[in-house]
Symmetry: C2
Subunit: 460 residues, 2 copies
């Protein structure tokens, strides 16, 4: 008996057809006679038309054959009987109205990408000296790792050799690798709250017990960390996500001492350190770890160069590299050879340094424009919570009551995409993240004016 349900959304003749098809495939009794259309209709309380439609479909697809004046029989199932249903491969086009203003905080403007240089280098690097027939170095091309190590050493105070660098395709990729490599030593993972929402999911999936650890005015609360017994702790010390706090040096040293004392691991996510507008970028915490054993450093090219090239990197302690070298991950590169070679050339010839300087100046201007536009259009209804770095200014209303969800709704109706801190950070901290990187400098004022219309509606 097939189970057919008239309450399902799937039409009965399709249900019947699928049920019979499944039976034919699983039982595979060539030559069996199917019950007549009338009989099946009676048995399942279906109309004759319904059963006819089901049989016709089975016939069309070659599952059954019809014999004159006799009825339907199960076909012998050659491969041809299993030709796929008509699929064009194409998806129906989605019709959605485009967003007018997008305040996404992790975005750059495509015009700020050094397209000409990149293209030139890419063309030059795509040549017969590359081996397209072999698996490239799983860790990443050595010349790229050397450039990354040199850059991090000079600009970020990271202590590293090219041997400790692994080229990844982004944050998740790198974090998953750390989670895998750390499994033998560690079971307990701590993460900032509020904090970037993905980190603990990644470690949770690899079986770690994860605990949120409160972020205070100076970053992670150390007493909470100690109390949590976390062995691995994920932090964004240079520019805390999302609060923007920079962890002071004394606290960094204390944190490091604690992690050293328990033989634990700090994962330092230095995601947008290139973009500091008020002071020089804070040197990395990794560089403070003179033991070289207790910090895994995570970085990316997404925030200052392009999120579309999909390149990030890790700097791992030597003991972790030793595990890595024995793992299957060591054999397979995570980024296309051409992309790696292009980026290596880009760095080697000084374009990267120039690009960072240019990007910093450009985004400093955008930052300033955003600041001024907010003051102009929101007046005294708001306060700035975080500024001076990255690709967004975070704001909160001065009013004590504020319906954030309605703000989001109203903005949505006006096709303005806004982003709230809590959505991706958890905890109690809430703010609107006013991203400026994706706009042209001259667009910012208009965008904020449109946003202000929504904001002013809510604060009343």
């Amino acid at each position: 008996m097939y189970h057919l349900d008239p309450n399902l959304k799937i039409p009965l003749h399709i249900q019947l057809y699928k049920a019979i098809k499944r039976e034919i495939i699983s039982q595979h009794r060539v030559g069996d006679k199917l019950p007549s259309i009338r009989k099946t209709a009676t048995l399942y309380h279906l109309s004759k038309t319904t059963v006819e439609a089901a049989y016709a479909q089975l016939y069309a697809e070659g599952y059954i054959e019809s014999r004159a004046r006799s009825g339907y029989y199960v076909s012998e199932l050659y491969f041809d009987a299993f030709e796929p249903e008509e699929t064009s491969g194409a998806t129906p086009a989605k019709i959605t109205e485009p967003v007018r203003y997008d305040f996404f905080p992790a975005q750059l403007h495509t015009e700020d990408f050094p397209l000409k240089t990149w293209k030139r280098l890419c063309t030059r690097e795509t040549n017969a000296s590359l081996d397209f027939g072999a698996y490239p170095d799983g860790q990443g091309e050595e010349i790229l790792r050397e450039e990354i190590a040199r850059y991090l050493s000079h600009s970020r105070g990271v202590r590293c050799h090219a041997d400790q660098v692994i080229v990844t395709h982004g944050f998740i990729d790198g974090m998953e690798l750390i989670a895998k490599l750390g499994r033998e030593r560690y079971q307990r993972f701590g993460h900032e709250l509020p904090g970037y929402h993905i980190a603990h999911k990644i470690f949770g999936a690899y079986g770690y017990r994860t605990t949120p650890i409160e972020v205070g005015r100076h970053g992670l609360r150390l007493e909470k960390l100690r109390h949590s017994k976390a062995q691995v702790v994920y932090i964004t010390p240079s520019h805390q996500y999302p609060t923007g706090v920079t962890m002071p040096i004394t606290k960094r040293l204390k944190l490091l001492a604690h992690i050293q004392s328990i033989d634990g691991l700090i994962i330092e996510d230095d995601y947008d350190s290139e973009l500091a507008y008020y002071n020089r970028p804070i040197p990395s915490l990794q560089g403070l770890d003179t033991t070289g054993e207790h910090v895994a450093y995570v970085g990316t090219f997404a925030k200052a160069l392009s999120p579309a090239i999909r390149v990030g990197y890790l700097v791992l302690p030597e003991w972790m590299m030793a595990i890595y070298r024995k793992s299957y991950d060591a054999h397979f590169a995570r980024v296309s050879l051409i992309t790696q070679r292009t980026l290596a050339a880009f760095m080697h010839e000084g374009h990267w340094d120039r690009h960072i300087r240019r990007t910093r100046i450009l985004n400093q201007k955008k930052h300033q424009a955003m600041r001024e536009a907010l003051i102009r259009h929101l007046g005294d209804t708001f306060r700035i919570v975080t500024e001076g770095a990255g690709l967004a200014i975070l704001i909160q209303p001065r009013a004590s009551e504020f319906d954030w969800q309605r703000l989001k709704q109203v903005a949505d109706e006006k096709r303005i995409a806004i982003y709230l801190a809590k959505e991706r950070s958890g905890g109690e901290f809430e703010a609107a993240r006013m991203g400026f990187g994706g706009f042209r400098l001259e667009e910012i004022d208009t965008a904020v004016a449109a946003f202000a219309e929504c904001w002013m509606k809510i604060k009343d």
Copy 2:
């Protein structure tokens, strides 16, 4: 007290220096006086020179300062004190003698890569219409997914829409994604033995209970599979790795029926299906699953185009896609935008179809050359276990006793890289995997002649 160990490979003065440095950083007591050199030497049974060397290093790095006629004191630790040690970023060059002949079975010859076409398309696709400021579609560019769906549908009998395709950067990436998405439903994973050695490690790392399932003359033994209670089973049905068995249609249908009946999942790894030389490629098992719910299909461009571009793909059942769309993975592309666009254009304009035909013919010739060279140089000392597909012919000795490890050693001494089945497959099946894809056609005979010298030594 510091723990110093004269039996370690690290010199004692470095051990002492590191221990003091760690103490200074963790305790951070500015102005504390260090014990005199003589005192420390006595305390730890060290020579004065050893202690002097340690102190000198600490001094040079700014951790301690010297006061005239008084001794050494802990410095106040500004950032500057933590400038990284001199690291050039460069790695000392490795001096290894190059391999003369490499029989790696998953290799193509770089000259067989369509470099000119690829370069032309890459240059054309790298243009201002791409958004370099934004995160690309996490699932992969739609135009590439459509091309992959169309190709799989026509050439491999896979039932799919672009909506079900996820662009990955390779096998591990795709398998990890399946492991993550399947976690809520499944706990027990079965894999072929012998079989590709990485699959079960990936699922094991995500907490699945993994069980090897014996491969017989017609592929996976179904009674063993049933007995294992595995819910997810990883197989290579078109060209079993490493035995080369093709699973017959009736067995495929039975396997499918079993998995459907337990609401389980087959992971079909169709890694080198393009390369069949004796018959037409076997249509995919995925295409037999008329329910569309019980097969996850894994494919790659590494075997027929290039392992250096790092592109693979998944075709997942709709229920799995629903989980995927809610996951963090859905937001982040795994392959660079330019690589994706170049590959999409390559496929759309017919180059991929032409390339497959060309590659198949070319490797068919190499396959034939390998076959003839083996017969010529090994005479009646061997038998072919697997041939007719992929990038290697598998051979075994006719002699009942054979020291495989010595073969490997002897080959190594002659700088010939050979690959044995068991190393990457487990189980009892052993064979030499004579890869031909990485050679030029005319090199094969010479390579096999060199290999034969080693082989003949062992079989005596």
